[in-house]
């Protein structure tokens, strides 16, 4: 089986430029797991509260359904919460990025794996963003914008704030060397 891990050296050997390119995929900052969990829990909380209101209304209108509908709601709630708590570590394990002097690669997902390659001189501008939860954990995310159409923006979440700043500076220095 092939995975996204292999290959940067494979293709570089084709290009007769082997030495400088062998870079391992970097993980995100592990604190992102907590950030994703909190974000997930907030989302779940909102969804569950709204659905709880619905459930209560239905159970008042039709008392016959009362036991079942609450059991159903609890099952869904448990499933959602379990999902919110267990998904972030898996997501973290599958997320990776690497950058050499020419190309930035990100990979993500397990069920639906996606690998994105960004030739660095295609970079138009870089945004560094920090939400409140991310700030609490000292994290930041980078948004890399190209002139593309459907895949114009690549986001790298969960970078330690200083790493994000360094990476941004490096990318900005490297990208956009071209005149147009």
């Amino acid at each position: 089986m092939f995975s996204f891990d292999s290959g940067m050296q494979d293709s570089s050997s084709l290009e007769a430029n082997p030495s400088s390119d062998i870079v391992e995929f970097q993980s995100l900052d592990p604190r992102i797991i907590q950030v994703w969990r909190i974000a997930g829990l907030i989302f779940c909380g909102v969804v569950l509260l709204i659905s709880l209101v619905g459930v209560v209304i239905v159970s008042l209108k039709a008392p016959v359904t009362r036991p079942w509908i609450f059991v159903g709601w609890f099952l869904v709630a448990a499933l959602l919460l379990w999902f919110c708590l267990t998904m972030p570590p898996r997501r973290y394990r599958n997320w990776g990025y690497r950058i050499n002097d020419k190309v930035l690669e990100t990979r993500s997902g397990k069920m639906f794996q996606v690998l994105r390659l960004l030739p660095l001189n295609r970079l138009q501008h870089v945004d560094l963003q920090r939400g409140p939860v991310e700030r609490m954990f000292g994290l930041a995310r980078l948004q890399l914008h190209t002139a593309g159409t459907h895949e114009a923006t690549i986001t790298i979440p969960g970078l330690a704030a200083d790493v994000a700043t360094q990476l941004r500076d490096r990318l900005v220095a490297r990208g956009g060397k071209d005149a147009d």
Binding site: F2, F4, S11, V114, L115, R116, R122, A147, D178
Partner: protein, 517 residues
């Protein structure tokens, strides 16, 4: 990304220190007349009922019109008096506004396309409207309405010359030998009739019928519906007596009538839209001009083409015809049913000329031979699994509905489906050259893309669970501007290792060339 403009003290850059005015101009005086007539034209339809029927509001209505026309006239006058443009150094500068002044500087090298349009009204007065497009702006960057034809042509030439020779000092441009303009392809009436016949305009025929009905509905008295109802009832009664044959005949005749109407409408539409289509080239600049009633002309530098799409629809492919579409960076549809013909680079051409035409747009392509590679054979297996599942479902539903085992007969379709998927598998492929990436897909109707590798923006490899089961992946090359080509080249069912290798090669190659829209 900003152009690096050297500081004013740099002595070698004469044209940045001493901006030379290449061209300076104002709108044509007929702007006033044309603007007034076109706003009157817009007022005519709402004016008729008020002038004819609205006894109580007649004078109020007329007063309102006078106010509107007066306002239009004043704003036209202000625009005419205040609008000026000039080319200075490397910029096109427009100025407008009397009270609130606005000056817009458009770097010439960012100008992607200059369109010159001449609708019926403009043709009466022999003036044109020039629209300057750049990558960034939503819509037009500058609209010069209206200019004399000679003036628009002068503007276009000046911009084209500066865009191409951006590194030359300004007076050198004037002496630069202008390459001859070479006509590449014109479309005659025959071509256009073919274009109309092969484009599927059944829907627009229906739309026209609907519009006619809506119009008739306004004009005709309501009693006509009662009479029509009576007539239909009578006709149905007669048909019932004559048996089902007559009914089928009538239905077929109706269908044929709609089809013929559709064909006529699309032929007429094609001729009106693309009459006198000419594609020509002058140096790097490509020109298109077409149109029977509204004449349109546009020029775009071919180096700005981001992606070229070769479309062979089901019907066109049958007759050996192709359509070419291209996107330049930042091309945007003006609205969804943009009917100006901007979306096609070449509305119709013979498949045999394809090689020549493509070489006009991408001259380096001929020198970049690349082997066409097929995707994984597993593609057939995969589509057969899907087809079989769908068939099973269809059979189950059919058997359940008819309460019989007849539905199983649907499985007879399997060999045909297999044949189809083998055919389409054989037509799937990609070619990775030194400078170009090409993909092709489809058998009944075929689509091929040509992307200059230096224009690719982001390369994406995706693997769905089903892909992973077969160890396949799909590859997508995203480019700037995909308004007319409808999405970027996307090739699925590649073996995973191959997809990764192609993606990385593309990214590496793209990273060498500097982006240049």
């Amino acid at each position: 990304m900003q152009t690096e403009i050297p500081p004013p003290s740099a002595p070698e850059n004469r044209f940045t220190t001493l901006p030379v005015k290449l061209l300076e101009g104002r709108l044509h005086p007929l702007t006033l007349v044309v603007g007034l007539v076109s706003s009157l034209r817009r007022l005519i339809i709402p004016a008729i009922p008020i002038l004819l029927f609205g006894n109580t509001f007649r004078w109020g209505g007329i007063g309102l019109f006078i106010v509107i026309i007066g306002g239009t006239l004043v704003s036209l006058l202000l625009r005419y008096l205040s609008f000026s443009y000039r080319i200075e150094g490397q910029e096109l500068i427009t100025r407008e506004g009397l009270i609130e002044r606005q000056e817009r500087h458009i770097p010439l090298e960012k100008v992607h396309e200059i369109r010159i349009e001449q609708n019926l009204l403009h043709r009466i007065f022999d003036v044109v409207e020039a629209v300057v497009e750049t990558a960034g702006a939503e819509g037009a960057e500058a609209k010069l309405s209206v200019l004399s034809r000679a003036e628009a042509e002068r503007l276009r030439e000046a911009v084209a010359a500066r865009g191409e020779a951006k590194n030359l000092p300004v007076d050198a441009v004037e002496t630069l030998a202008k390459p001859e303009r070479e006509v590449i392809r014109t479309l005659g009436l025959r071509d256009l009739i073919w274009h109309g016949l092969t484009s599927n305009h059944l829907l627009s025929a229906l739309a026209i019928m609907g519009a006619l009905w809506a119009f008739a509905d306004d004009v005709l008295p309501n009693s006509i519906y009662q009479q029509l109802g009576k007539f239909l009832k009578m006709a149905a009664g007669q048909m019932y007596q004559q048996g089902w044959r007559a009914a089928v005949m009538v239905a077929l005749a109706g269908l044929a009538a709609v089809m013929i109407l559709g064909l006529v409408v699309s032929v007429v539409g094609s001729v009106i839209k693309f009459y006198g289509f000419t594609l020509s080239r002058q140096g790097d600049e490509l020109f298109r001009s077409y149109g029977l009633i509204t004449r349109r002309a546009s020029s775009l530098p071919r180096r700005r083409i981001q992606v070229l799409k070769i479309e062979e629809g089901m019907i066109r492919r049958w007759f050996g015809l192709v359509t070419l579409r291209a996107d330049i960076s930042g091309s945007k549809k003006e609205d969804e049913d943009d009917n100006t013909g901007r979306d096609v680079l070449m509305p119709v051409a013979k498949a045999s000329e394809l090689e020549h035409l493509v070489s006009v747009f991408f001259p380096q392509l001929a020198a970049d031979p690349a082997e066409w590679k097929m995707v994984s054979r597993l593609a057939v297996q995969r589509s057969m699994v899907f087809a079989a599942l769908l068939l099973c479902l269809a059979v189950a539903v059919l058997c359940f509905l008819t309460r019989s085992w007849l539905g199983i007969g649907l499985f007879l379709l399997l060999p045909a489906l297999y044949w189809l998927s083998v055919k389409s598998y054989r037509n799937f492929g990609y070619a990775l050259g030194a400078e170009f990436f090409r993909t092709r897909s489809g058998w009944l109707g075929r689509e091929s893309y040509v992307v200059p590798i230096e224009k690719s923006q982001v390369i994406v490899v995706r693997q769905s669970p089903f892909d992973r089961w077969l160890n396949l992946a799909s590859l997508q090359v995203d480019t700037a501007g995909q308004a007319y080509t409808g999405g970027s080249p996307n090739i699925s069912n590649l073996p995973m290792a191959e997809a990764l290798q192609v993606a990385r090669t593309l990214a590496r190659k793209a990273s060498r060339a500097s982006a240049n829209f």
